[in-house]
Symmetry: C2
Subunit: 223 residues, 2 copies
DNA sequence: AGTCATATTATGGTATACCATCATACTGCA
DNA sequence: TGCAGTATGATGGTATACCATAATATGACT
């Protein structure tokens, strides 16, 4: 018998809700790198017990968004220039692999979906709405990875991106990026839609390289 | 003032000790994929409270070694063929990047260190001591990544490797691998030592490709 | 005003209690 | 003998208590 009759259960625990909330708060820079995450204050903020908070902190620690300093408790993970370089380098090799595979195997429906998300990114820039731009960008990349069949790479990619998220708002708002960013993504999309892995790789290298250069500048400025 | 006079403090918590123990137990296949990890039984096994156990499970969940099934509690993460394929693919692109960089910049001291670890791997094979082989292999790769300056990639690599660890014992003990394995690693080491990135990449592709083929076979056999 | 000793508060580490829900065992009846 | 209802045990989710240690505040003395 198929699943049509199966009773669905709510599965969301307080821990899952709190994890999503705290992760989003970190990614939205409501907590700054190096800032202490005091357990009892997080309990007040999130309205849950210390057990839930501690379990959430363990999860974020394993994700690399939180650092535990012995005898000092947790802090929001910091970024140094060297780590930024390495993360963009990883992003480059992963993203190149994915766009090549995508160009080789993507279906027309996913190409259309990519266009939809790219339009949403442009609309976000037009409205100066950074959250809309970031949501559109995440959705665009999720389609890329899923269409390429690379769910493991997507997990690694998201985790790395979360760690450099605080720089991404700089790369997004640097002068002219509202045009060059979507332009570069359009070039990637066109190459993918044309099933041209070499062109997709070239467009990807340009796009990630430019984002990397901007991030390098802003990381150096804030260190 | 330098750190010479600084008083060092013990920083290991019960949680850290328990995390290492449970992770090792999973990697050593004392718990099989799909096996339930019952909290109260882990308390007895590890000799700690449920708080510690739950925090450790959260960490391993974020690392991908444990899956939480709603209303069923945690189980050791399972592996399917598709995930194995993707992990080896990721390993290929990461390892290629690292050996190239290593060939470009490695110092003589680290080349010597790689030789030491490769000798240890050979000795492990000679003694039919799989743990010695795996410790030697981990040490070899840690030197590779560290010499290349790729600590972020090392974290990602170790995490992915942990997930396919259960297959690695198959790849290590397949017929003839005791000779071909170290032989392929020797070829990588020679190319790195000669500062030849192209040769290092070729040797790396051969090595990872062979390990991948064996893992594919054993994953298929156990599904 | 500065320093030092002491008191107090804040904090992370760890254990345990309680509860709701699910799984399993048992009993009674047809 | 099989099935249904009930009881019991197992389990994960969550809260709170307690403790040791570190950080901060305070007061006394010079």
């Amino acid at each position: 018998m198929d699943n049509a009759l199966k009773v669905e259960r709510p599965t969301v625990t307080l821990r899952e809700l709190a994890l999503n909330k705290l992760r989003d708060a970190i990614l939205e820079r409501r907590f700054r790198p190096g800032e202490r995450l005091v357990e009892r204050k997080l309990c007040e903020l999130l309205g849950v017990s210390r057990t839930v908070v501690r379990e959430v902190l363990r999860h974020l620690e394993a994700e690399g968004l939180v650092e535990i300093l012995p005898h000092h408790g947790p802090i929001v993970a910091r970024l140094d220039l060297e780590t930024v370089e390495q993360i963009y380098e990883m992003r480059m090799v992963i993203e190149v692999m994915v766009v090549r595979s995508c160009a080789e195997r993507i279906g027309a429906a996913d190409v259309d979906l990519l266009r939809v998300h790219l339009d949403e990114i442009r609309a976000g820039f037009a409205a100066s709405d950074i959250r809309r731009v970031m949501r559109g960008t995440s959705a665009f990349y999720e389609v890329l990875f899923t269409a390429a069949g690379k769910t493991v790479a997507w997990d690694v990619f998201r985790n790395l991106n979360a760690r450099i998220n605080q720089l991404r708002s700089y790369t997004l708002w640097s002068p002219g990026r509202n045009v060059t960013g979507p332009g570069e993504m359009q070039a990637m999309l066109d190459a993918i839609g044309a099933h041209d892995p070499d062109a997709a790789e070239a467009a990807c290298r340009l796009h990630v390289g430019n984002a990397w250069a901007i991030a390098r500048q802003s990381a150096a400025a804030s260190e």
